[in-house]
């Protein structure tokens, strides 16, 4: 995982208001959101964002509403212009792009999936799926074939001639995903793509995305307000609050080492047994030979609890791709199930 970042955001600021440049110096000196609004009637959208997104990874940007996550994702394809900072894609700063190059970027390099689907209601499903290719000027037959291929891939074969309003929300979003995939762009921006769907369908869609990702290895930037979703999808998790990055890194790491009360609050409510993986709580093997069994590093703890039947005196050998990588003591597992904050002081409860 030491590949060069495909997309790299550096020192990005966004200020909304009448004259953002006039208040930029104060913001750069560290003026906060509330103070800026009170003194200068400008809203601080994003503050000093630095995020690297690696090729083939899913970067999840998580935050509550108003944290600036949708603003941030719209900076990547410049649907929103930043106040200052740089956004590099393959080493080129897209902010220097003129209209022509920007259009080229949007057509060939980045596709987008929207929270409210944003399909064209007057076009059939296959025409919608072929939209990205139509924009590039491909012939009707060519683009519809491509559209149908991707519709098939997301499980919508047979619905090509329907109109979006004839489909359920989950199916409409499948069209949205097919539309993004059909553009063959290496980067996919997903703006709360599953937030408008009900929980069961959402799980289906997450599975679909992970399954597609296994074959396609796109660079996905995924926005969500749902921590469970974030932990399920993320290779790299960025947590946003009031327009700045509170913590970013490997999701398991954030879960075990939250560096901010805000994140502690967040992580205290999730099912840790399901989210945490063996590799996050295992220790190196030092001389033990008495193992109760062998487990995979990517198994979640829930699986292990079931396996051990609740016996905390066991120790398992952990393997990854057939190699021994560590040992898992069931006691360590149980300790990991309790949030760090709760074990420090039993009075704290969110």
């Amino acid at each position: 995982m030491t590949t060069q970042p495909l997309v790299s955001i550096k020192g990005l600021y966004k200020i909304f208001g009448g004259n953002p440049q006039s208040v930029l110096p104060q913001v750069l000196k560290g003026m906060g959101k509330a103070e800026l609004l009170e003194k200068h009637q400008h809203v601080l959208g994003l503050r000093d964002i630095n995020v690297d997104m690696r090729e083939g990874e899913i970067t999840v940007i998580m935050g509550l509403s108003g944290s600036g996550k949708s603003t941030l994702i719209r900076h990547l394809n410049r649907l929103i212009e930043p106040t200052t900072g740089s956004i590099e894609v393959r080493g080129e700063d897209v902010l220097t792009y003129g209209e022509e190059k920007l259009r080229d970027l949007r057509r060939n390099l980045m596709s987008m999936v929207f929270q409210k689907f944003a399909l064209l209601p007057h076009r059939t499903v296959e025409e919608n799926a072929a939209m990205a290719r139509e924009v590039r000027g491909e012939t009707q037959a060519e683009r519809l074939a491509e559209g149908r291929k991707w519709l098939e891939r997301v499980g919508l074969g047979g619905f090509e001639k329907r109109y979006p309003h004839q489909l359920s929300g989950g199916m409409q979003q499948r069209v949205g995903i097919a539309r993004a995939l059909a553009s063959d762009s290496p980067i996919m921006l997903m703006d709360e793509a599953f937030s408008a769907l009900d929980p069961l369908i959402r799980t289906d869609m997450q599975d679909l995305l992970l399954e597609l990702q296994k074959d396609l290895h796109k660079t996905i930037i995924f926005i969500t307000h749902d921590l469970d979703e974030a932990l399920k999808l993320a290779d790299h998790l960025v947590i946003l609050k009031d327009g700045y990055v509170v913590q970013q890194g490997e999701p398991q790491h954030i879960l075990l080492n939250p560096n901010d009360p805000y994140i502690e609050d967040f992580v205290s409510d999730i099912n840790r047994a399901r989210v945490l993986r063996v590799r996050s709580v295992m220790q190196p093997i030092n001389g033990q030979t008495d193992f109760a069994g062998v487990v995979d590093a990517d198994d979640n703890l829930e699986h292990l609890i079931g396996l051990s039947g609740g016996d905390t005196y066991r120790t398992y050998k952990v393997q990854s791709n057939g190699e021994d990588v560590g040992a898992l003591d069931m006691k360590a597992l149980v300790r990991a199930l309790v949030p760090a904050a709760a074990s420090d002081s039993s009075t704290r409860r969110s």
Binding site: N77, L79, L102, R103, D104, L105, R106, R107, M110, S111, M112, F114, Q115, K116, F117, A118, L119, L120, P121, H122, M131, A132, E134, V135, R136, Y163, P164, H165, S183, L189
Partner: protein, 344 residues
């Protein structure tokens, strides 16, 4: 002795006033009576006139009367008229050709071809048998009572004017929707066109163009009927779902692609509603425009009024209503089809 003498006296403008005296000072009836009796009228306090131009003129003849002002406007218009005409005449000439050509064409096609053509055209546009039947029977009825050619003339004028309204109105509406500044500049003009009494359109036009030219009524109708299609095009495009236009941008559509593939199709129901209003308003105006020699059913209405031929007026009025119902139903059915295709 006028009420406002004191103003000019206190301001020391007496000399200026007397210098401008025209001599033929007009007197009101009561003033004349008083003069005849040899006394000055004392206006009671509760009848103190508003210090209007006329009242001030009574005190100081140099001040212009309202009558002078209106004739000033008239003279100003007449002075500008020639240069205006020089510019406008050639520009609007094609309108005359269009109107005359279309009238000629509609009247040249024999009824047994034109009626089926209209019926087939309707069926093609709306795909509703009831409405197609309405069109057929309306024209058969009009022809039966010998109002066919009048109705066809009216229809021809409406077709041409509506076509031009769409041709100019839709682009204007699109420009308005794209720029708040353009919208702010155009809305007062639209408000004015919509609220000016329809007869007022005709007055300056009569001076500009000769009454025998068909563009005279053409311009009057277009100015009157273009408003709704402009407004509703603007509204329709502004109402297009922001998420969808954002998606269009995100996939790298050009301005044109966005306009023709996303915005206009999604605004179509509103644009069609504007078209319906435009058609109805041109029908309303084409009747009034018969005052300035627009042919058609309006001529019969005018005859009914002028000669007090009650029957002629009533029957032609009924025919206009029939035509209105027909145009409304056809355009609404076309609108419903547009609606259906965008699924709102």
């Amino acid at each position: 002795m006028a009420t406002y003498d004191w103003i000019f006296n206190t301001l020391g403008l007496k000399d200026w006033c007397d210098g401008g005296a025209t001599g033929n000072k007009t007197l009101s009836l009561s003033e004349m009576l008083a003069q005849a009796k040899g006394e000055t009228v004392q206006t009671p306090w509760y009848e103190t006139p508003f210090p209007s131009l006329d009242a001030l003129n009574a005190a100081c003849p140099t001040v212009a009367r309202t009558r002078d002002m209106t004739s000033g406007v008239e003279n100003g218009f007449l002075a500008a008229k020639d240069s205006l005409k020089f510019v406008l005449d050639p520009i609007t000439q094609p309108l005359s050709w269009l109107l005359d050509g279309s009238l000629w064409l509609f009247l040249a096609i024999p009824w047994f071809i034109l009626i089926p053509l209209l019926v087939i055209g309707t069926q093609f546009a709306v795909r509703k048998w009831a409405i197609t039947a309405l069109v057929l029977f309306t024209f058969l009825f009009l022809a039966f009572i010998d109002h066919y050619s009048f109705a066809i003339e009216t229809l021809s004028i409406i077709f041409v004017c509506t076509f031009l309204c769409v041709l100019f109105g839709v682009p204007i509406g699109i420009m308005m929707s794209k720029s708040d500044r353009t919208q702010k500049a155009i809305i007062p003009v639209l408000d004015m066109l919509q609220t000016l009494p329809s007869f007022v359109y005709l007055i300056p036009l009569i001076f500009l163009f000769s009454v025998t030219e068909s563009k005279l009524y053409g311009i009057a109708i277009i100015l009157y009927a273009i408003v709704p299609i402009v407004r509703l095009t603007d509204l329709g495009i502004r109402l297009v779902d922001r998420d969808v236009t954002e998606a269009a941008d995100a996939f790298g559509m050009t301005f044109r692609q966005k306009l023709f593939k996303v915005e206009i199709p999604l605004a179509l129901p509103n644009i069609m509603a504007g078209l319906n209003q435009t058609i109805m308003m041109s029908l309303a105006m084409v009747v009034i425009a018969s005052l300035v020699s627009a042919p058609g059913l309006g001529v019969l209405v005018l005859r009914g009024i002028r000669n007090l031929e009650l029957g002629v007026g009533l029957v032609s009025g009924f025919c206009i209503v029939l035509l209105a119902v027909l145009l409304d139903r056809v355009s609404k059915a076309a609108l419903a089809r547009a609606d259906e295709s965008t699924h709102h």
